[in-house]
Every structure is written in C-alpha cells, then in structure tokens.
Amino acid sequence: MNHLQGGFLPHRDGEAGAHKETLSPGHLACAGCGLMPAVKLLQQVLGPRTIFVVPACCYSVIDGAYPSSATGMPVMHCAFETAASSASGVRAGLETLGIRDVTVVALAGDGGTFDIGLQALSSAAERNEDILYFCYDNEAYMNTGIQRSSATPRFSWTTTTPEAIPKAERKKDLGAILAAHRIPYFATASLAYPEDLRRKLKTAKEMKGLRVIHYFCPCPTGWKSDPRHMVRLARLAVESRVFPLHEVFEGECWVLNMDPQPVPAGKYLELQGRFGGRTPDQEAAIQKEVDENWKRLMRKVKAC
C-alpha cells in the first residue's frame, strides 16, 4: 500500500473543506487512541444517514457525558451484552417506519464482542440481521481498567494477568466463528492501511445482512506503548502476520488482502510494555503461534 508516494503541490483550495467532519474534536479518547481515526473514516464512508449503537466500551465514554456528544450522529447507548440485539431492534424499528436508507452500526469493543456480547452477535448472525457490526479490538477491557478478555493475546500483561502470570490462553478466532455462521461479509482491517479500511467499509455499506468488520485497534494506554507508535503498531501487526488482513464472503470464500514481506513478531512485541516481561521462550512460542495461524488462514484462502 503506497497511497502517499509522491504527493502534490498546494492546489487543493477548490476541494478543501469538501468533507466536513461530523465527529467533533474534544472527545474523551486517550492521546494516540487507535479507534478515533477509524470512526472518522467510518463516518466519511457511511455518510450522515447512520445510527450508532454503542454498548459499554471505550466509545461510550469517548462520546462524552450527557448531554454532550462528539459523534455528531445519533448514538444509542445500550447494555454491555446487547450491541447486536439492540442494533437489530433499531433496524426493526426503522423497517417499521419504512426507512431503508439508514445504516445501523454496532460499535463495540472486543469485550462486548468476543465475550459478553457473543451470544447476541451469534443470534444476530443466525437471523442475518441487516446491520454493520464494527468491532474495535484493543485486546482487553480497556475502558474498565485493562482486564483480560478472550481477545487478549497469549503472554500479554493485563491487570488481571500480571507480568509474573501472563495470559496463558490464545486469542479467540472471531473470523472463524463468524464464518461458521455463514454471514455475508467478514473483514479484518487496520488503520495502517487506510485505503484498505475505506474499501472494506464501502463494501460493507453496499451489502445487506450482517457485515462484521474486525478492526485492529492499538491502545497506548492498555498496551503500555508510546502513543506516537499507534499507527506503527497497526502496521507492524500486519507486517509480522500477527493480524493478517483478510475478508470472508458468505463464510466460504476467504481472501487475503495483504501479503507483505514478513517481519519477526518480536519487532511488534518490543514496542509494547504489555509484552515487556516476555521470556525468549515465550517470544518463540508467540512466533510459532503466529506462523501456525498464518498457515491455517492460508489453507482456507487457497481452498477458495
């Protein structure tokens, strides 16, 4: 991906201000939050006819305390486990009113998706509800104090998996779970490749049924990383194959979007304090897991 090579001279005055951002500055995200640029892109691609349904997660705080809201679009806050079912309800309400041009977006963290909200998501998938489910995966319950979730990677520090006893289990494979539901569209996305992210959002917008975007969301606060490395970590996660960019259509057709020259996972780990206590053996185990996951994914991609 090389969207910036070259560049251009100042002559954009004509088009400047063409897209007025809906999202407002002054939101309460931490410095270097990986979610906010994605929300910005989400709003740019989906346009003003969008309703956000937000369970308990970082974004429910980021949006601001009532009555202020940074989103600039309708937001419905709902209970932790109900993102997918609440969004389904909003969709049903709109149907009843005969409104068909509105995109309903469930914006949920990994806790509300991988753990607490999985049942609701599975049910919505089974019913193939016409909603766009955007899971921003920062790999722990960041909003409540960095507790481990089933999206937390192995050997990562969290407040519930201290450095002496890091998380022993591997990360849950959300893509495979959703593919098993045969939903129309599932995609992983990373901010380091904004053109790819834009394209996937556009693809999702134009489809019907349950579309899930699994967005890799670097979190400087929870990952104990330098806020300035937010995009770099998003890029390294893809380059090291820790978080491969791929799409799944109808649960059957697996497509790999990015196949960069792989870098060692250590390059990605070393920038994060949450892996600061890793031993060489643990790092090798992480690399082994990354390689196995890549092979599993490639088997599915090649089978299509």
Binding site: N2, L4, Q5, G6, G7, F8, L9, P10, H11, R12, D13, A16, G17, E21, L23, S24, P25, G26, H27, L28, A29, C30, A31, G32, C33, G34, L35, M36, P37, K40, L41, R49, I51, G64, Y66, P67, S68, S69, A70, T71, G72, M73, P74, V75, L94, I99, V102, L191, A192, P194, P220, D226, P227, R228, H229, M230, V231, R232, R235
Partner: protein, 540 residues
C-alpha cells in the same frame, strides 16, 4: 430518521489542555538542496516537474542557474551523493532532471521576464560561466549589460575547455542565444589590458565593472626540458581543438596531471587516434578530476600510471621524447589535505613518447589584473579569478552573487535573497533518512541513463550521455522522497485521532488546533518526510 436526541448542545472539553508535548510543522533542508553548488531549490523543482508544471520549474531553476541545459550535462551533481533515496533503489536522477528542464527551455525558446532598463549599465569582462551568469542576473535586475570577451566567440571555458562529447556546442549556443534575446550585448575580441582599458569603459558610461576573467595561465611542470617543442600546453591545445583545429599529434603521448584538464586532453587525444598515458603523482582516490570523467576515461581505454612523476625530459635522435619517471609513495597529509607524494630513491625508469602534454590545471595570470585592483571600488571579481570557481556550477553561483551584491549596492537597496529556498522559511537542519517514515515508500530502481558504450565513443566527439525520456523524468520525480518538505500528502490529517489537524482553505496548508491536540505524536511519526516535529508544549 430521528433527530440527534438531546445531544450536541453542551460544549466539549478543551482536551488540548492534557498535552505536554506538541507537534509543529517545520520544513527541513533536503540533502540535495543543501549540497547544490548553485543553491537550487531542487525539491520544489521536482514537485513542479511531477505535476508537469515545467515552465514554473524552469522559472524557479533560473532564479539561481541560468544554464540548466549546460549544468544538466557537466555538473558533478553533488546533490545526488547525499540523496536519501540511495537506500531504496538509488539516488534520484537530479542532474538528468535539470538537463530535461534545460532542454525544455531551449525547445520552448523560454526567456525570463526582463524589467525595464534602469540606466545603470554594467560591464562584465569575460564570458565564461561566471561572467555570463553575472550578466544574466544583472539583466534580470534591470541593468543594461555588455560582456567583453577576448576571444572571437563567447563561452570561455564552457566553449574552450569542456569537450564537445560532454557539452555539445549547439546546447551552448542555444543557452547563449537566450542571453542575446534578453538584450545582453556582447563585444568580442576585446581583451582587458590590451585593446580595452578601465578608461575606455568609464568613458563609455560604465560606472561598474565585473571581472570574470578566469585563470588563464597553465601551471608549469618545473622540470628540465619543459620548453622543448614536443611539450604541449594542454589548456592551449584544447582551446585550439575546440576552435576546429586538428593538431598533428600522433603515436604515444604522455599526459601529465590528474585533473579535468588531463582527463579532457587524454580523452580528446584518444578520439584523434592517439594513445594517451596519464601520469599522475598520487593515486586514483586523490585525483582532482570528476569521478565520472575518470571512470569514463578508464572505460575508453586511457592508460593510467599512478604514483609516478616526471623528473626530466629530453629529445632523442629519432624525434620523440624520453621522460625519466620516478615512482612515488604517499606520505603525511599536506596543506591540500591529501597525502603528500614522496619520490622513492632509485626507482627511476624511462618512457619513450612522441609528445608530452602539460595538464596540471591553471593558475591566476599575472599582469593586467594586479590582485589589489580586484577588490572594492568599481571593480567586482567573480568566478575563478576571485577564487570562487572550481566547477562551472560554482562559477555560476559566484557570478549570481556578484550580480546581486553589485546591484543592491549601486541601487542603494538591501540585498534581495538570491535563493528561493530562503523565501520558504526552511531551517538549516538537513533531513536525514532515519527521520523519514520509509513505510510509505517502495524500493524502486533508478533508471539507467542512456550512455554510449566505450567502442561507440571512438573516433568522434558526439555527446556521450543521452537524455532520459520524459516518462522516466516523471517517474523519477515521483520516486523523490521530497525529504523535509510538506507536500500536503494529508497523512497527519488522516491519522490524527483528535481531529486537531485541519486543512486551511485559502492558505494552502494544514494547521494544528491547539485547543484539541492531545500531543500524541502520531502525526510526527507518520509524516513520511520529516516535516512535522515535536517539542515540549511550553517550549514556544
């Protein structure tokens, strides 16, 4: 669709107050701009070329260099040496780009805009690169200019020093004709101190005189036999050759020296069917000639004898010359910064040749211009005779600086900035590769410039190096990193989590909203070309 429920009314907090670091936009000096001998704003030129805005690129280029077609061929291009692209596919072909713009200007018969003559005429003595450059800029600053040249053709070293296979004469003529179109007068066969005096000039109304007479005297060998008829002055010989004379040199010829004069003599001799042997007292890395010329001379089959110096020469009855050579070794560094060559006793050997070429370069000619006259008053020196030459590019810069200094003095105004980059408000810090974000660039190879192969070069004086086609020039412009300069790629805006980076309509730039920037530094990290930097929030 329902209205936004009850929200949006209350003001959001000024989250910029959380910040203890803050980003700021600041262009750095690109390494090419920093190294340019004439002071070109290379990166801006490249950006204009990339957008096919060739006329604007030429206008910008000619603010510091009136002869892009010439320097685009003969400049030693120190701009390409520090190019940060080197690490990812090879330096950008900056000289080829300059040549492209120069040839474009010639084809379009481009001529810079000239203000009305201001009634303050200036005489320029000498029509080498320094004199011509000085005349060009004096004319663009409004002065009527007359150039006096002792030879019957203008161009100085560009015409009588640089061989045609490096600088075709039609290119030189085309660049010179632009000066004539600008209204610069040429008076040929006027040699200062012979048929032209300071009195002549003042009585013809010239209150100001610029001296750009070059050096003019060959450095002597200082060994017995130097004045034998078979010992040829290389500079004078080249001059005759470029006048169209085909001197009767034959057989084996020793060329003594390691500079550009020696390379030019050897390569011209080779093209005339003579076998030159270059004799140089130091070794190859110490040669003052341009590396490119040395490499091409070697490719063409010029024989080199390094660490060898002549001791004496005498004639032999058969008609040739016998040179006694001595082997040298390198010692301590001398005042020139190079290792001093020391003769090895007892290592003498003999070499039989037909002719010997003295090609040790030139020194200041004594005579009409005593050094004390070269300073102050009505006389301004520039170029080689002011010690500011060396290469054509440096002479051109010296001529331009003399023109700006002279013009501001006689017009009684403060000197205008003669460098476009100064006007952009850049800082002196040079952008380094490690400051760039290489993730945004692919490894892409530098296209090879067309070059005649060594066998194709024999027997004629046609140009060696060809031009890159326009498509390659455009891809080279795209390959350039634009180090240290914001080219409005928009990365900072895309990745800012706080929507604190905004496009300023009408101003053509981005700005940072201090009320909301939390100082995360993502914009600094993700700027591909080191145009945003970080400081403590109270540092301003």
């Amino acid at each position: 669709m329902p209205e936004i429920a009850a929200s949006g009314g209350a003001p959001l907090p000024r989250t910029g107050l959380w910040r203890y670091l803050e980003p700021y936009y600041q262009d750095l000096t690109p390494p090419c701009n920093n190294a340019c001998l004439t002071g070109e704003d290379i990166v801006t030129q490249i950006r204009l070329v990339q957008e096919k805005r060739f006329q604007e690129a030429v206008e910008l280029l000619m603010r510091v260099n009136p002869f892009p077609a010439i320097l685009g061929r003969v400049c030693p291009h120190p701009c390409e040496t520090p190019c940060n692209r080197k690490a990812m596919g090879g330096a950008v072909s900056i000289r080829q780009m300059e040549r492209f713009l120069g040839d474009w200007a010639i084809n379009q018969e481009y001529c810079p805009g000239i203000p009305k003559a201001n009634g303050l005429p200036v005489a320029v003595i000498g029509s080498g690169p320094a004199g011509l450059s000085c005349a060009f800029y004096l004319r663009t600053l409004g002065h009527p200019v007359t150039v006096f040249e002792k030879e019957n053709l203008a161009g100085g070293l560009l015409r009588f020093g640089i061989p045609e296979f490096r600088l075709p004469r039609n290119i030189l003529e085309a660049e010179l004709s632009r000066l004539e179109r600008m209204g610069i007068q040429f008076e040929l066969e006027k040699e200062f101190g012979k048929n032209l005096t300071l009195k002549d000039l003042t009585s013809s109304g010239f209150s100001e005189v610029v001296f750009a007479v070059g050096l003019g005297k060959s450095r002597p060998l200082g060994i017995p036999g130097e004045n034998l008829p078979q010992v040829v002055d290389g500079v004078q010989w080249l001059k005759g050759l470029h006048r169209g004379q085909r001197p009767s040199v034959r057989g084996r010829v020793a060329v003594i020296g390691g500079g550009n004069t020696a390379m030019d003599c050897a390569r011209c001799l080779l093209r005339l069917g003579v076998t030159p042997i270059v004799i140089y007292r130091r070794s190859k890395p110490q040669m003052p000639a341009l590396p490119e010329e040395i490499r091409e001379a070697e490719e063409e089959g010029v024989e080199f004898r390094f660490l060898t110096a002549p001791v004496s020469m005498d004639t032999v009855p058969e008609g040739g010359l016998r040179i006694v050579l001595v082997r040298m070794k390198l010692g301590e560094r001398d005042s020139s910064g190079r290792p001093k060559p020391i003769p090895i006793p007892g290592s003498e050997e003999e070499l039989s040749v037909e002719f010997v070429f003295k090609a040790l370069g030139e020194i200041v000619e004594e005579g009409p211009l005593p050094p004390k006259n070269l300073q102050g008053g009505q006389v301004i020196p520039c170029g080689d005779c002011a010690g500011k030459g060396g290469t054509a590019a440096q002479a051109i810069r010296s001529g331009r600086e003399a023109a700006y200094a002279l013009s501001s003095r006689i017009q009684g105004v403060s000197p205008a900035p003669s460098l476009p980059a100064q006007a952009r408000g850049i800082v002196l810090e040079v952008a380094k590769f490690k400051q760039l974000n290489a993730s945004y660039f692919n490894k892409e190879p530098r296209p090879p410039a067309p070059l005649l192969s060594p066998p194709e070069r024999a027997g004629h004086f046609r140009e060696l190096q060809g031009a890159l086609p326009e498509s390659d020039i455009l891809s080279e412009a795209a390959r350039c990193f634009k180090c240290g300069t914001c080219n409005l790629c928009g990365n900072c805006e895309i990745f800012c989590p706080d929507l604190a980076i905004r496009w300023e309509a009408g101003k053509g730039r981005y700005s940072i909203d201090e009320d909301f920037c939390k100082g995360c530094g993502v914009c600094v990290e993700e700027c591909p070309r080191a145009a945003i930097h970080m400081r403590y929030a109270d540092a301003q």
